[in-house]
Amino acid sequence: MSADRSPVTDADVCVIGAGPAGALVADRLSAADHDVVILDAGPRFEDGAPTRIERTERAIRPAYGRPDVWDVGGERDAYSATGEWFYPLNHARVKGIGGSTLHWQGMVMRLHEDDFASASERGVGVDWPIDYEELRPYYADAETELGVSGADDNPFGPPREEPFPNPAFPPSYSDGLFAEACEKLEISMHSVPNARNSEPYDGRSACVGYGTCQPICPSGAKYDAGVHVESAEEEGATVIERATVEKLEHGPDRIEAAHYATPEGEYRQEADAFVLAAGGVETPRLLLLSDSEHYPDGLANSSGAVGKYFMDHLFAGAGGVLDEPTRQNHVGFLTSESHQFYDDADEEVGPFKLEFFNYAGPSPVEQALGGDQWGDELLDSLQASYGNHVAVGGLVEQLPREDSYVGLDPDETDHLGNPVPDVHWNVGDRALRTLERANELQTRILEELGADVRWTVGPENTGPAYHHMGTTRMGTDPTESVVNPDLRTHDLENCWIASSATFPTGGALNPTLTIAALALRAAERVDAAL
C-alpha cells in the first residue's frame, strides 16, 4: 500500500521539519484551528520495522554506528565538511518524525541572562534582540510541554518562579563522591533539568533505566517531538513523511509553495504561512537552494547572513579511575552539573558548564560484544575494566564567526540531484581558551577526588555537541540578520523560522529548551498574523 503524500488543499500553515520546533509550532497552530501540514524528509519510524526495541539493540551492538540507529546516511544525507574542524554531520542529526530529539541526550536548561547580551555584558559576539525576561514565560511553557524533571536548586541559573512539572532525578552515587571533592574546592553542584520523566507524565512512562538514552530511549520516558506531532495530528494536522522539500517557490514578498519530492513523485504544497523548522543545517540549505531572480544569493538572504555564523558547543572533559567503586553506566543521563563558572565569561574566556558523569568508562555489555575473549577470560577482563571510572564533562561556547558557515557544495549532490550542505566549521581562539579553563577545573576536581587522571578532551581533540546554531540569525537590522525578533524573515511576510538557526549567540547550554520556547513564541506570532 502506498501512502498518500499528496498536498493538502487550502492549508493555512506549512511546517517544514518534524523535530521539536516544527512539532510544537504545528501543535499550537492546529489547536488554534488552523489547517496545518507538516512535511519531513524522513520517515515515521514507529510505523514499521525495525521496532524501537530493535533499534535500541543497534545502539549496543558493535555492528552498528550511531547513524545506523535512526537510518541516517546514504545519498539523501550526503554532506561536505570543509572547515578547519571536521564536522561529523550524520552523527549529529536524525531525519524523521521527532527529528534529532529521537537521539538527543535530553538536557534542557534555560540560557542565562547574559547569554542574551553577549556584546554588552561580555564584550564579544552580538546581543540578542530579545532578553531573558521576554522569553521567560515561554521557557516555563516549554518546560510543561516537554515534561521537564528538575529542581530549583541552581544558584547560578536565571530567575524562575514556576516549579518544574516533574521532580528532579535524585543524585547518583558518584555525584556523592564528587560532592565531597567539590565541597573542598568550593564548587557548588546542582541538579540537571532533564526532558525525561522522573515520574509518569503526559501519558508516558517514567524512566525505567535502559541506559541507552543517547541515541535512543525504548521506553518513551525521554521526550521526543513525536509527542507533539501526534498531538498536532489529533487536532487535525496532516503529516507527510518522506517528503523532502527541495525548493520554496516565491515572489518578492511571499512564499507561494513548497516543492517536495516523495518516493511516489514530486508535489507542490501551497499555504498562507510557512514555518521553516529543519534545523541549523537544512534550513539555510533550503533557503540557498531556493535562489531566484528576486533573491540571487538565496531566499530571504538580502543580508547575506543565511548560512553564516554556524556555531556548535564544544565538549571539554577529563576522566580517570578511583581505587573504589563508582557505580557507572546504570543510566545514560546526568543528574548533577555546575554552572558556577558560567557567568565569569568575558572577552577572553567564554561561558562553560561542568557535568558530572554517570556513564564514565566502558559499558560491560558493549565491551563483551566487541572483545576478543570469552568464557572466564572475558569475565576477568570485564571485571578489570568496569567499576571505578569517573569523568567530568562540560560544554563551551563558541562565538559566531562569518567564516564558520553552512553553504552548498556545488560538486556533490544528494539523491535528488541537489547540492549537498557544506558544513564549514571554524571555532576560534576564545573557545579553545575556554576549553583549557574547563580542563583545568575538571582536572582539579578529579585530583581532589583522588583519581588517576587518564584522559582529557580539550583544545587538541575536542568535538561538537551536535547543536547547530546561528545560520539564520535573529536581529533588528535587516542588513545583518535573517529573521526579526518575531522570528519572521525580514524579506518575506509569510515565512517564519523556528530553530536554533535563529540564535545570534549560543551560550554554553544545551539548546533545545530555548528552541522550544522560541517555537512557542513563533507559533503565537504566526497565529496573530493569520
Partner: protein, 186 residues
C-alpha cells in the same frame, strides 16, 4: 552461579527481548520451547527453532564463564523472544547451518555434537573470537553476530550477567531508577 527461569525472563525484558517495558508495562511470559527433537543430519536443510536453540546453548557453554550453570533454560527462554523476529531468525538459521557444515568438515560432526573443548577450538579456528560482528559479513562475522554475540548479549544485558561484573542494571536492561543511586555496599 545458577541461571534461573527468572533470570531468563529478566534477560528477555532487556533490550534483546520483545517488549519495551516502559511502553507495555509488562513482560510477556516466554513460550515453552520444544526440546523433543532428534539430532539434525549435516546438510539436511535449514535448521528449525530447536536446532538453533541447541546450537546457541552449545555456544553459551563455551563462551559463558565457567561458574554459570542453568544455561539451557536461560538461552532457550531468551530465544523465545528472538525467534519471532523473522529477519533475525533467518540470519541465525543461516549462521547455524554454515557453522554445522564447517564443523562437519573440520571435526566430523555437527557443532552441538562436539565436546566443549572442540567447540571452543573450532570457534577460534573460525575466527569468531577475533572478528567484529557483522550481520551481513563473512561466515565468521555472522557467527559472531548471530551465535556468539547473541548469547553474550543475553547474559551481559541481563541483571545476572551484569552482577557478575558488578552492575545489576546493565545497559539494555530496564532496571529502574534505584540502582544508579545505590552505593556498592547497599
Amino acid at each position: 552461579m545458577e541461571l534461573t527461569r527468572r533470570d531468563a525472563v529478566a534477560a528477555l525484558a532487556a533490550v534483546g527481548g520483545g517488549a519495551a517495558i516502559g511502553l507495555s508495562g509488562l513482560v510477556e511470559p516466554p513460550s515453552a520451547t520444544s526440546n523433543d527433537h532428534g539430532p539434525r543430519e549435516s546438510g539436511s536443510g535449514a535448521p528449525d527453532d530447536a536446532e538453533i536453540e541447541e546450537t546457541l546453548v552449545a555456544t553459551a557453554e563455551v563462551v559463558y564463564p565457567s561458574a554459570i550453570s542453568g544455561i539451557e533454560e536461560f538461552v532457550g527462554t531468551f530465544l523465545s523472544g528472538r525467534l519471532d523476529r523473522e529477519e533475525h531468525r533467518a540470519g541465525m538459521a543461516r549462521a547455524v547451518s554454515e557453522l554445522d557444515e564447517l564443523a562437519a568438515e573440520w571435526y566430523g560432526d555437527r557443532f552441538a555434537a562436539l565436546d566443549p573443548g572442540e567447540r571452543n577450538e573450532f570457534l577460534r579456528e573460525l575466527g569468531a573470537d577475533l572478528v567484529e560482528e557483522d550481520p551481513g559479513g563473512s561466515t565468521a562475522e555472522r557467527v559472531r553476530y548471530y551465535v556468539v554475540n547473541e548469547v553474550l548479549l543475553a547474559l551481559y544485558a541481563s541483571p545476572t550477567g551484569g552482577e557478575l561484573v558488578g552492575i545489576e542494571n546493565p545497559q539494555g536492561h530496564p532496571g529502574g531508577q534505584a540502582s544508579y543511586q545505590r552505593g556498592p555496599q547497599a
